[in-house]
């Protein structure tokens, strides 16, 4: 019996090593490939058989020395993502919290709206939204880029789920102590929601960092470009620059992975506690 158990353990663990390999292999192969000549890569794909002597830091030297714009885009992306995370967590958590702890007229409608937004394909909103941005004079501004992301329906949904589990007795206690409703949220409840903030910080950061279509419509000048748009300009068939593409792609994943490793414990906990409620 015991022997049998150990045997199963081995099988399962080997199986998971295998699964992890499949999951990580594409990224590893991209990172390894980033040291290879890029056009060769585009022609023949990633290959098992590669020549060690082909490996070089050329692609990285290229983006670190020749692509001054690359780092400007990097900076822009960092600024936009950071602002988006802070603002969207602030507003979305307020909304989600209110939906969970208060009973008020229109609550169901609002919650239903949140769900419906998740269903609407963004593409059908593009032109009306774009016209709106022009009317509001927000073309070529960071505000224009961030505005549609600030109250994120998925985040609202998630915060609501999380806030459902908050101990409401605390609220009454706080009221007796003279806390305002807002004080209750900011001073007492939101610290309790920290794990959910961590989880959403990762998801919102991920979305903002990788966002492409919308900023592309809104941003006009090169010095405001975000990283994905900037990279895309290097990728046109009218002048391929795969050197920057492959190495640049690797460099775009790195901040996200750092963010994830940093928050990963909260992230998993937050996601766990948030989604089981109800």
């Amino acid at each position: 019996m015991r022997k049998n158990n150990i045997f199963i353990k081995w099988i399962v663990n080997i199986f998971f090593v295998f699964v992890a390999l499949i999951a990580l292999f594409p990224l590893i192969s991209l990172i390894v490939s980033s040291f290879r000549p890029s056009s060769e890569l585009m022609r023949n794909g990633i290959s098992f058989s590669f020549v060690w002597s082909e490996l070089s830091l050329r692609n990285y030297i290229h983006i670190f020395t020749e692509s001054s714009s690359y780092w400007q885009w990097y900076g822009n992306s960092l600024i936009i993502s950071t602002l988006t995370i802070v603002l969207s967590l602030f507003f979305s958590s307020m909304v989600g919290y209110a939906l969970a702890v208060y009973k008020f007229k229109g609550r169901t409608i609002i919650f239903l709206s949140v769900l419906i937004i998740i269903m609407i394909p963004f593409e059908i909103l593009l032109l009306p939204l774009y016209q709106l941005m022009i009317n509001l004079n927000l073309i070529n501004t960071y505000t224009g880029v961030m505005l549609p992301l600030i109250v994120a329906p998925v985040a609202v949904f998630f915060f609501r789920q999380y806030a459902m589990g908050l101990p409401l007795e605390l609220m009454d206690a706080a009221r007796i102590d003279g806390c305002t409703e807002y004080g209750i949220f900011f001073r007492i409840m939101s610290p309790l929601m920290l794990p959910s903030f961590a989880a959403m910080a990762i998801l919102q950061g991920l979305n903002s960092w990788n966002n492409f279509l919308w900023p592309l419509l809104v941003i006009r000048s090169n010095d405001l470009f975000t990283l994905p748009i900037g990279l895309a300009t290097l990728l046109t068939p009218y002048g391929n620059n795969y050197d920057t593409l492959i190495a640049g792609s690797v460099m775009t994943i790195i901040p996200i992975i750092i963010l994830f490793i940093f928050f990963q414990r909260y992230f998993v906990e937050g996601l766990a506690s948030g989604s089981v409620k109800g």
Partner: protein, 325 residues
């Protein structure tokens, strides 16, 4: 998953509607502040940003899109053309896109629900060592942007016989495949990319769901002589059901909305429309070919489709009823 319970009053903690709170420290002269702080008004202030952004950034553009779907929109010339856009929709190309999106949706729902459940159960058991590592390894692909994922898939599934995918199948004696040019392999690439990126996320959802199952239930089931399958069938599954409904719903919606996977592989026209999806058709007609009215009509049809399918699913699984229990 209460998130899908439209009538969710039972989840709202009772908050007495009278105000002000029983406290003697009110300032008499500041009735406005008091009003703002009342439990009646405060929730509206909290949700105000959402109402504002919803009306300006979603409701208004959606209504605009509905109006546009009845128009022919050319620069400087906008005219109402009744149902003409809708009459044009239902042709070969649309059915192809519908078939592709539906197939993608079905495959991703099947793959991204069953496999993550199994992985999550194994990860939750005490059979696996270094759980954190495996959990993270599964999750990291989700951190990869679709663009980078596209680069990777293009390189791995290049048509060259020296590319990894063709090397592997060559090892088993198959001829190299032109992955991006045939119908089955095109669908395989799209589903594969989605599965790779979202597997870890769904595993986390199910892991979270498993935490809520009281361990005693398993113990008592064991005492009753239940085998592994029985435990899964009668303890695990019922407890996981809300999460399964949640993940499935999100996957249905996401499946119908598929676009990026196709876009990063083919950048527009795929050979034989093997990668054409409904949103891809919307993008192609509405944005690339500047037929905004027609594009909007496709969007409206898509919206109705998504709404109906997910509602039917939720009704069948009883997600609404659960909310009223």
């Amino acid at each position: 998953m209460s998130g899908l319970n439209i009538k969710n009053s039972e989840y709202v903690h009772e908050t007495p509607n009278q105000n002000p709170p029983p406290s003697g420290r009110k300032k008499k002269n500041n009735s406005l502040l008091r009003l703002l702080n009342s439990k009646k008004v405060a929730p509206y202030i909290f949700v105000f940003p959402f109402i504002l952004s919803f009306s300006i950034l979603t409701l208004y553009p959606t209504i605009q899109a509905f109006i546009m779907s009845f128009q022919r929109i050319l620069p400087g010339q906008v005219e109402f053309i009744g149902l003409q856009n809708y009459e044009r929709i239902f042709n070969q190309t649309f059915y192809k896109a519908l078939a592709n999106s539906t197939m993608f949706m079905l495959l991703t729902v099947i793959i991204l629900v069953t496999i993550p459940i199994i992985l999550a159960i194994l990860l939750d058991s005490n059979l696996v060592k270094s759980k954190t590592f495996f959990r993270s390894a599964l999750f990291i692909p989700a951190l990869t942007s679709i663009v980078v994922a596209g680069v990777i898939f293009r390189l791995v599934f290049s048509e060259s016989d020296q590319a990894i995918a063709n090397q592997i199948i060559g090892f088993f004696g198959f001829d190299p495949v032109r992955w991006q040019f045939t119908a089955w392999s095109g669908m395989f690439l799209m589903v594969g990319m989605a599965a790779w990126r979202w597997m870890g996320v769904n595993v986390l959802y199910f892991l979270a769901g498993l935490q809520s199952i009281p361990k005693e239930l398993y113990e008592s089931a064991e005492m009753d002589g239940a085998n592994l399958f029985h435990k899964f069938r009668h303890v695990t599954l019922p407890f996981l059901q809300p999460i399964i409904i949640f993940v499935t719903t999100i996957s249905i919606i996401g499946g119908f909305r598929v676009f990026e996977e196709s876009y990063v592989i083919w950048q527009g026209n795929s050979p034989g429309n093997i990668g054409l999806t409904l949103v891809g058709l919307l993008y192609q007609e509405g944005i690339q070919q500047n037929d905004m009215g027609f594009g909007a009509a496709i969007g409206v049809v898509l919206l109705i489709l998504i709404f109906f399918v997910s509602m039917i699913y939720l009704l069948v699984t009883g997600a609404f009823k659960r909310g009223d229990e």
